[in-house]
Symmetry: D2
Subunit: 326 residues, 4 copies
C-alpha cells in the first residue's frame, strides 16, 4: 500500500481531522430535541433557523450544524487543517487540479474554503473555530449518550476506488479496504488523517450520499443509555442497527435515525492507527463472518437509505473517475 | 391480582427458586466448549456422557446438566425447595391432585421428586445439592460472559393462563402478564418465587417447549465479551437476538443458540420484586413500543424455534386446561 | 452453623427485607440536593421538615426518610414483613421476650410496629407502603448514581455476637462472619432475610451507631458518575472510601458522606445467597488480604465516625448481652 | 501559550508519539507473570534475559521491554518518529545543540538513535518496528486489564519548566500546565505530540526518575478486573492508588506497582487534543479540588517513590537549566 498512502507523510496541505457536518432539517426544534436529549450534544449557539452543537469533549464551536430547510439533506462535511496557511496551500492545490473552490463563511468558523469536490461531496476546510468551554466535567448536565466528539462520516459513492484515490491525493491514508470478493475492486475504504482508522469512510452505493456521521461515546453504558432514551421518547424503532461490533475498525456501534432520517452512529473510542507503515487491513466482501463478526444482519433500510447532499443529484459522480491523483 | 397470587404467601410447599436445567446434546465436547468458553460456566463434574456446570457465583453442584443423546431436547427443569420436608409436602400435594410423581436421582443432587406435570413440562424438585467452592474470585479463570447464576426458564405452552394457574397453585406469583390486545387472554406470564420478576416465564406457542434458559451476567461488558467470543469461535450468527432491552422485566438481554440449537439468554441483574402487594405489571400485546422498547425486531427463528421436552410430543398439553387449581 | 441459623426457615414472624432508614438532617434542602443529585434518589413526597425518597427501581413510597432536626442522627431502621399478620405475630413475640413495642405511624407507611430493641437500635416493622410508579424507565430524569434500591444497613455495636443472636432469633440468617483472629469472637456479621448476603451488617465498635446504609447501583459507571458529580458539587472529599472491592460479600463499593456526615454506600448488585444450607463464610480478622483484597486502606474517619441513633446514648448496649435468644 | 507551542506545527523533526519503555527487572519470570496476568500485555518475543511485550491493540513489536538486571531501573523511554529521515534530522538537530547521540540497536526495532538528553532522561528515537498481528480480536486469550496501548510516561525532574522547554523545542506541545500557587513556576506539564493531552508528563520532584508509564484500557470494568486479579495474585496492596479521576487530563486512573516497584498506570481512553490553537489548561497547585476532584489522597509512596534511570544518579539535572531552546 506504499503507493496508495504516498501523500500521507507529505500531504499537499495538512488536513488534521474530520471537523463537522452541516445538515438540513425540516423541524429545528424536533431535531434539537433529538440531538440534545438522545445524543447528548451541547448547544453552542442557536440562531433563527440554525443551531450549532458540540460533543462534551469538544472546545471547537461546533461539530454538527443543523439548518432548517424544506427538505433534509447534507450541505457539507467539514475538515480541519493544521494552520491558516494550509487553507491557502489547499486553494492553490485545488486550483491546479481545476477543482472549483470558493471562500465562504459560517458562524463560529474562521476563514473557510468550500471545495466543490468532483465526487459531488461539498467539503469545507477551516483552520480555526471559536473556542468554547469543554463541557466534559459538567456531569450533572449530561444527557443520553453524552457523545464525546465527532469521529468520522461515511459516504456512499458509486466508485469507491476513484473517490478514495482523490482523497488520498489530499493526504488521507487508507487504514482498511474492503474488496469485492475475487476482484481488486474496492467497495469500502477507511480513510484517515487523525490517529484512528477513519475520518472518511467510503462505501459503494448510489451516491454521493451521506450514510452517517459518527460520534465517540465513553462506553457501552452510554450506548445503552441512548437506546433507552430513544425508547422513552417513543422512537425506539429509530435504533436502526446494533448495538453490535464491526469487523473493520473493530468498533462497537449503534445507529440511530434522526427525525428527518439522517443517521448518527455512536461508537466506542476507536483504536489508534497512526504509523505510516501500519499495515492496511484488507477484507474480502465474502468474509461475512469477519466483517459482521456477530449479530443480526443490518436491516434493509440501513443498507439502502442515506442523505443526499444539498443540490447534488443522485448518480452525479462528477468527473472523479477521470480525475488524476498525480 | 390478589386472587391470582393467593398462594404466594402460604404456598402448599416452599419452592424457593429456579434451580437447574437438564438438556440433551448430541456432542458433549462441542457443547462443553460452547458453555465453558462462551458462557463461562464452570465444570463441576464430568462423567461418561454427562457434564454438570455452575455459574461463577453458584456453590450448588450444577445449574446446567448436559447429557449426551441422539437428539437435542430438555429432560427437565429443576426447582429448589426450602427444606427436605417440602419435598414430602409436595409429594402429598401432587398426589392429592392426581398428578404423577416419582423419586429419582441425579449426581450432585439430594433426594429428588420428579413431577409429571400436566402441562407436559417435567419438573424436578430438590432441597439440596452437593456444595462446591464459589468460583467468584477466580478472576483469572473467567471466560466469555462468566455467567453468575441461573435466573429463569421460558417455556412455550398453548394455554398460558391454564399453566400459569397451575404454577400459581404451587405458590408462584405473577409479576408481569402480557394480554392479547383487547382481550383477557394471557399470552405471556412472568412467574416467580425468588425476588426477581421471573423464575418461570410462560409464552404462548406450540408446546410445551423450552424456549430458553437465562443466566445473569455482571454488566454489558460481559454480554459483549460473550458476543465477541462467539465471533472469535466462528459462531457469530448464533448471537441470535440482542443485545437489547426487554420492556417486561426491564432486562437488558442477549440470546445465543448452542451447537444443538438450545437457546441461552444472558441478562443483567434483574430488578427486585418480592413484596406480595407489589403491583402486577399488565401489558397489552399491541403495546409493541413498550414490550420491545427499542431495536431490531426479533428474528423469525427466535420466535419459532425451541427445544422439545424429552419424550413429550409437541402439542401435548396434557390435561392442564381442565386441571383445577383450587 | 446449623444452630446459628435455626430460625431462618421457621421464623417467629416473617421479616422479608431491609425496608427503609429514617435519618435526621440539619438542612433539608442541602440534604435533598445531595440525595437527589448525587445518589439519584427520587422524591416521593415532601412535607414541611420531612422528605421521602425512593430508588429508581422502588415502588414502595420510601426507602429513605429525611427529617429536619437540630442535630444529625438516625431515628430508626425499617424492616418489611411479609403480611399484616406478621406484625401481630411480632408484637406477641417481642411481648413474650419483655421487649417494648408500640404502634406508630409514618406518612406513606401502613400499620407500623416500633420495637425498642435491647441493642438500642430502634426498629420499625411494616407490611405495606403506599405504592408509587417505578421510575426505572424514566431514563432522561436519572441523576448521579441513580441508585436502584436500598440493600442493607451496617450497625456498630460493642457485642456483635449478642446482637447477632438477637437478630437470628428474629429469623435472620448469618451469611458471613468475621472473627477476631485466633478467637471465636465475632467482630463482624452479615445477616440477611432476602437473597443477598446482607440486610443488616453488624460490626464491632462503640455503639449502637449507624455506620452506613447501602444502595444498589447498576454498574461501575454509575458509581463513577456519583463520584464525578461529587467533584462537580465541590464535595469530592466526601467520596470517603473507594471505589473498591470488599472481600466479604464480594461487593464493589464506594462510600459518600452526606452534608451531615451520614454515610451512604453504593454497591453493585450483590450475589445471590438464599439456600438455607448455603455455607456460612467465616473470615479471620488477620486475613487482611482477603477482607480488603486490594486498594488503599480505609481512612480513619471511615473507621471511627458513625451516626448516633436518636436519643440513644453511645455505649448504651441495653441488656442485649444478657438477653436470651431461645 | 503561542510561543510555548511554537514548534508544534513546524517541528525540527517529526516525533509522532510515545513508543516504548525499557525497564530493568530483577526477576524476569516474576515480572512477566505480573505484566501478562494483571496488565494483560501480550508477549512478542522472549530472549535470555529479556522480554518484549505489546498491548492488545498494538501491531508494533513492543511497547514495553523487560531486561533482567541486578537492580530495577529504566534504561530508556522510546519515541516514534514519522519516517526514517526524521531520525537523520534529529541527529543533525541534536548535534547542533551539542547533545550527544549515538546509533544503537534493539531487537524488533529498526534504526534507533539514542539521545543522551541533558535532562538525564535517555531517549530512543525510532521510525519503525517489526510488525506483528494485532491481538485485539483474540478475546478468549485476554487477561487482566488487557491493556490496549501505551499512552504516556510521567517523569520527575527538579526543573519542570526547563525540561519542558527542551521538549517543546523538539516539537512537543503543552496541553496542560500546573503552576505553583501564586507563582509562574510550572510544577507539572502535560506534553504531547499525538492527539491526547500526554505523551510525556513532567512533574516536579527529585530526578530524573520515571514515575510511571501509562496504558489505555477499554473501560472501568477492565480497570477493576486488573485490581481483582491483583487481589487474586496476593498483591492487592500493590494497587497503589485509585481507581479515581484526575482533574488534569480528566482521565480515570488506577496505579499498580510491579514486583520491582516500577509503576504502571491504567487509564480510560483519553480525550482528543490536537488542534494547535486548543487552549492550554492552566491549573494552580492550590486548586486541590480541581486537580484531585474526588477520592482519598494519594498515598505517600505514590508521591515519593519512582524508578531511577539506569546509570543516571539522582539529582543530576545535567545542564538542562542552562540549555537554550532557541
Amino acid at each position: 500500500m506504499t503507493m496508495l498512502n504516498a501523500r500521507y507523510t507529505d500531504p499537499p496541505f495538512r488536513i488534521t481531522r474530520m471537523s463537522h457536518v452541516v445538515i438540513r432539517v425540516t423541524d429545528l426544534d424536533a431535531s434539537l430535541a433529538f440531538y440534545q436529549s438522545l445524543a447528548g450534544l451541547v448547544l453552542s449557539r442557536r440562531d433563527d433557523g440554525a443551531a450549532y452543537l458540540r460533543g462534551v469533549e469538544e472546545t471547537s464551536h461546533h461539530s454538527l450544524v443543523l439548518i432548517e430547510g424544506d427538505s433534509p439533506s447534507c450541505d457539507a462535511i467539514g475538515l480541519r487543517v493544521f494552520e491558516e496557511r494550509d487553507l491557502d496551500l489547499a486553494e492553490t492545490w485545488f486550483d491546479g487540479k481545476g477543482i472549483h473552490t470558493e471562500w465562504t463563511t459560517r458562524p463560529g468558523q474562521d476563514r473557510t474554503l468550500l471545495v466543490r469536490h468532483p465526487s459531488g461531496v461539498p467539503i469545507e476546510l477551516t483552520a480555526r473555530m471559536e473556542r468554547l468551554p469543554r463541557p466534559l466535567t459538567e456531569y450533572s448536565a449530561r444527557k443520553g449518550a453524552s457523545v464525546y466528539r465527532l469521529d468520522h462520516v461515511q459516504i456512499l459513492v458509486p466508485d469507491v476506488a476513484a473517490v478514495g484515490e482523490a482523497l488520498m491525493a489530499m493526504g488521507f491514508r487508507a487504514a482498511e479496504i474492503i474488496r469485492k470478493a475475487g476482484t481488486d475492486t474496492s467497495i469500502g475504504m477507511f480513510l484517515h488523517r487523525k490517529n484512528v482508522p477513519h475520518d472518511i469512510v467510503l462505501s459503494q452505493g448510489a451516491g454521493p450520499r451521506l450514510h452517517h456521521f459518527s460520534y465517540v461515546v465513553s462506553d457501552l453504558q452510554a450506548m445503552f443509555k441512548a437506546c433507552d432514551v430513544a425508547g422513552e421518547m417513543g422512537i425506539g424503532t429509530e435504533v436502526e442497527r446494533g448495538p453490535g461490533r464491526h469487523g473493520p475498525g473493530n468498533s462497537a456501534f449503534v445507529y440511530f435515525r434522526d427525525p428527518d432520517g439522517h443517521r448518527i452512529e455512536n461508537i466506542l473510542p476507536p483504536m489508534q492507527i497512526m504509523d505510516p507503515d501500519e499495515p492496511v487491513a484488507i477484507w474480502s466482501s465474502d468474509q461475512k463472518e469477519k466483517i459482521v463478526p456477530w449479530g443480526q444482519p443490518a436491516p434493509m433500510r440501513w443498507r439502502e437509505e442515506a442523505s443526499l447532499f444539498t443540490g447534488v443529484p443522485l448518480g452525479d459522480e462528477g468527473d472523479v473517475a477521470r480525475w488524476s491523483v498525480s
